[in-house]
């Protein structure tokens, strides 16, 4: 990270591989809920039931929690690689 900051104006091309990796992983975590929930036929069924709830209902409510975890992990990933950019912003603004 520190090494990257030393090379000036390397905003896009010269990112450390794990920075790119973190963004890709965050991207996957953020896209997953879309795919799961837009694919209605995969969960439009009655059984198995859970506490009397048809699958259709408890599955979607489960995705509320899964999505919360996804966005929380994505937040940590992105926040960690975002931070070192602030000095860059500082330099450009002057």
């Amino acid at each position: 990270m520190v090494g990257r900051e030393d090379s000036p104006a390397s905003t896009t091309g010269g990112r450390a591989p794990y920075v790119v990796g973190a963004y890709i992983l965050a991207g996957i975590l953020l896209v997953a809920p879309f795919i799961a929930l837009m694919w209605v036929s995969s969960y439009a069924k009655d059984s198995p039931r859970l506490w009397g709830f048809p699958f259709f209902y408890w599955y979607q409510l489960l995705w509320v929690l899964v999505t919360a975890v996804c966005t929380a992990v994505a937040y940590v990933l992105v926040h960690r690689v975002d931070r070192p950019r602030e000095p860059l912003t500082d330099r450009n603004a002057r």
């Binding site: 837009m38 439009a44 009397g52 929690l65 966005t71 975002d82 603004a93």
Partner: protein, 544 residues
């Protein structure tokens, strides 16, 4: 429906309502606001809200009469389709996560208060900025109309209002409207933020009691789903087909997915949602909220199921006009299930839960008008005091506009008000969200895409006829062109048309070297955070 007025419930509602109004007036002095006379103070609460307050504030404007009245009413009449509100409020979080921090950053670097300010700076296009402002203003009105219908539902179930002419029946609605207008007018966004605490506490209380006590009384969740299914399988008198089912059939897949997607895309285009976001302290408050707000979505899912509980409890809601009114299903369920005093608390939760967002929405729409229409076209040199004065006046006019929607459109299903607003609102998505990431799209192409999709969406929505009442604007789904009779939310179809036109015309206009307009933003503006240079948006903010 029991006849006469429920005195105990009504007294509790009035007491809680007055308490909230007093809080609203006191809120004007909360955190020692220096000067509510300036637009930034009145409309954005001084832009200093941290995570905790923002959580309540965002929750406060996302979960409204839509949640408590409109969604359960749709579940009650049509079954599983109404549950689309759950995927809608799930997928909006990843969506928020991706683009709102960029909007926060660029707004704070350049002092933007509305999405339209951003469009003006980004594309250098007055026409496009005005289009976005007008869309926000227009789309907010039916959303506020939904809140008014929610309040009306509570008052009707309590027996308030007369059977006689429409004027008598509407008096309680007008009283609630006047109180809302009064406290919004005097204290701005700080009022709703503080009241959101009261409102959310009430809602949590009511919902916890409702989802434990009512299923217990009705024989358990399994029993509720089974009775709801039996009831939904009965034919609809207007169409002769079953009303719906608790598990969606294959015709419902497309409408379900598109309603969820379109609603999620629309939500953060509304001026009021953006106001709440810009009122946060730094760019990450929004992201951290994105992983905390799902608590509200769980709640919303359980509230939606109140519609099934009403079916299982054999509730047949009939309005004061003698016609069936599904919006009354949940308040009526509360009346039948709860003792009067607790029904009163539950009604208050619904009513206050409609008032708060209505206040936030009208303030945001008013800011939009003042900044992007009044200052842009009428008084470019307006003082801050003049701006605040115009905003307050317009916030009142917006509520009057909402009232006009209630009185003129078909209100068989109140959710269609919000969905109609969504059809319009989504059409600003390309200009705003795409614009946060790229300047490739041409401003004229965006304007053309917006214009065509607005017309398409409005015409399609007008053409949907309610089979029972034969009224126009009877629904929000229509056959998707080229998709062989499949139905979908008109907002999404119109959005696709919008994007296709925008891309095609951008290619043409770029080839012709049409003037792209001046972009005042720079790439690093989109990642700036509090503490970075130039993140001191407006002089008002530093004047503390």
């Amino acid at each position: 429906m029991k006849s006469g007025v429920d005195t105990v419930a009504l007294t509790i509602v009035i007491v809680l309502f007055l308490a909230v109004t007093v809080i609203g007036f006191l809120a004007a002095r909360w955190r020692r606001a220096e000067d509510l006379g300036s637009l930034d103070e009145w409309g954005l609460g001084g832009r200093g809200f941290g995570m905790f307050v923002t959580w309540f504030l965002l929750g406060g404007d996302l979960y409204t009469a839509y949640t408590f009245v409109a969604v359960p009413a749709l579940m009650y009449t049509s079954g599983a389709i109404g549950f689309f509100a759950v995927p809608y409020t799930i997928i909006m979080y990843p969506l928020i996560f991706v683009f709102l921090p960029r909007l926060w950053s660029v707004s704070h670097r350049h002092g933007y208060v509305t999405p339209s300010d951003f469009i003006r700076g980004r594309y250098g296009s007055r026409a496009l900025a005005t289009a976005v402002a007008l869309t926000g203003l227009l789309a907010t009105m039916p959303y506020i109309a939904l809140q008014l219908v929610g309040i009306q539902a509570v008052l009707e179930v309590m027996g308030v209002g007369g059977h006689g002419n429409t004027l008598v029946a509407d008096i309680p609605l007008l009283v609630a409207f006047a109180a809302l207008a009064a406290y919004t007018y005097s204290s701005g966004l700080r009022a709703p933020a503080l009241i959101a605490f009261v409102k959310d506490s009430l809602i949590y209380l009511v919902i916890v009691v409702a989802v434990i006590y009512i299923p217990h009384k009705l024989g358990g969740w399994g029993q509720i789903f089974d009775s709801a299914q039996a009831s939904l399988q009965q034919p609809n008198p207007a169409t002769g087909k079953p009303k719906g089912s608790t598990v969606p059939t294959s015709q419902v897949y497309w409408p379900y997915a598109t309603l969820a997607l379109g609603s999620a895309m629309a939500l953060f285009m509304y001026p009021h949602s953006i106001t709440a976001v810009l009122a946060t302290r730094n760019r990450n408050v929004v992201r951290r909220n994105a992983s905390l707000l799902p608590a509200y979505t769980l709640l919303l899912g359980l509230i939606a199921l109140l519609g099934y509980m009403a079916l299982a409890a054999k509730i047949k809601p009939v309005g004061l006009d003698g016609k069936p009114n599904p919006q009354l299903a949940v308040p009526q369920l509360f009346e039948n299930m709860f003792p009067s005093w607790f029904a009163g608390i539950a009604y208050s939760a619904i009513a206050i839960g409609a008032l708060v967002p209505a206040a936030i929405m009208s303030i945001a729409a008013a800011n939009l008008f003042t900044r992007n229409i009044y200052k842009e076209f009428f008084r470019p040199d307006a003082t801050h005091a003049q701006e605040a004065k115009v905003s307050k006046l317009v916030s009142l006019l917006v509520k009057v506009g909402a009232l006009a929607f209630v009185l003129t459109l078909d209100k068989t299903l109140a959710i269609n008000f919000q969905l109609l607003g969504g059809i319009w609102m989504v059409q600003t998505f390309p200009a705003i969200v795409f614009g946060l990431f790229t300047r490739w799209f041409h401003r004229w192409a965006l304007l053309a895409g917006w214009a065509v999709s607005m017309i398409y969406g409005t015409v399609e929505a007008y053409r949907v006829i309610n089979p029972a009442t034969k009224a126009h604007f009877g629904g929000s789904s229509a056959p998707i062109p080229l998709l062989d009779g499949r139905n979908g939310y008109i907002a999404v179809t119109a959005f696709v048309i919008n994007v296709v036109i925008t891309v095609a015309l951008t290619v043409v206009l770029r080839a012709l070297k049409a003037p792209a307009g001046h972009d005042v933003t720079e790439p690093e503006d989109y990642t700036a955070d509090a503490g970075d240079p130039r993140v001191t948006p407006l002089p008002e903010l530093t004047r503390t």
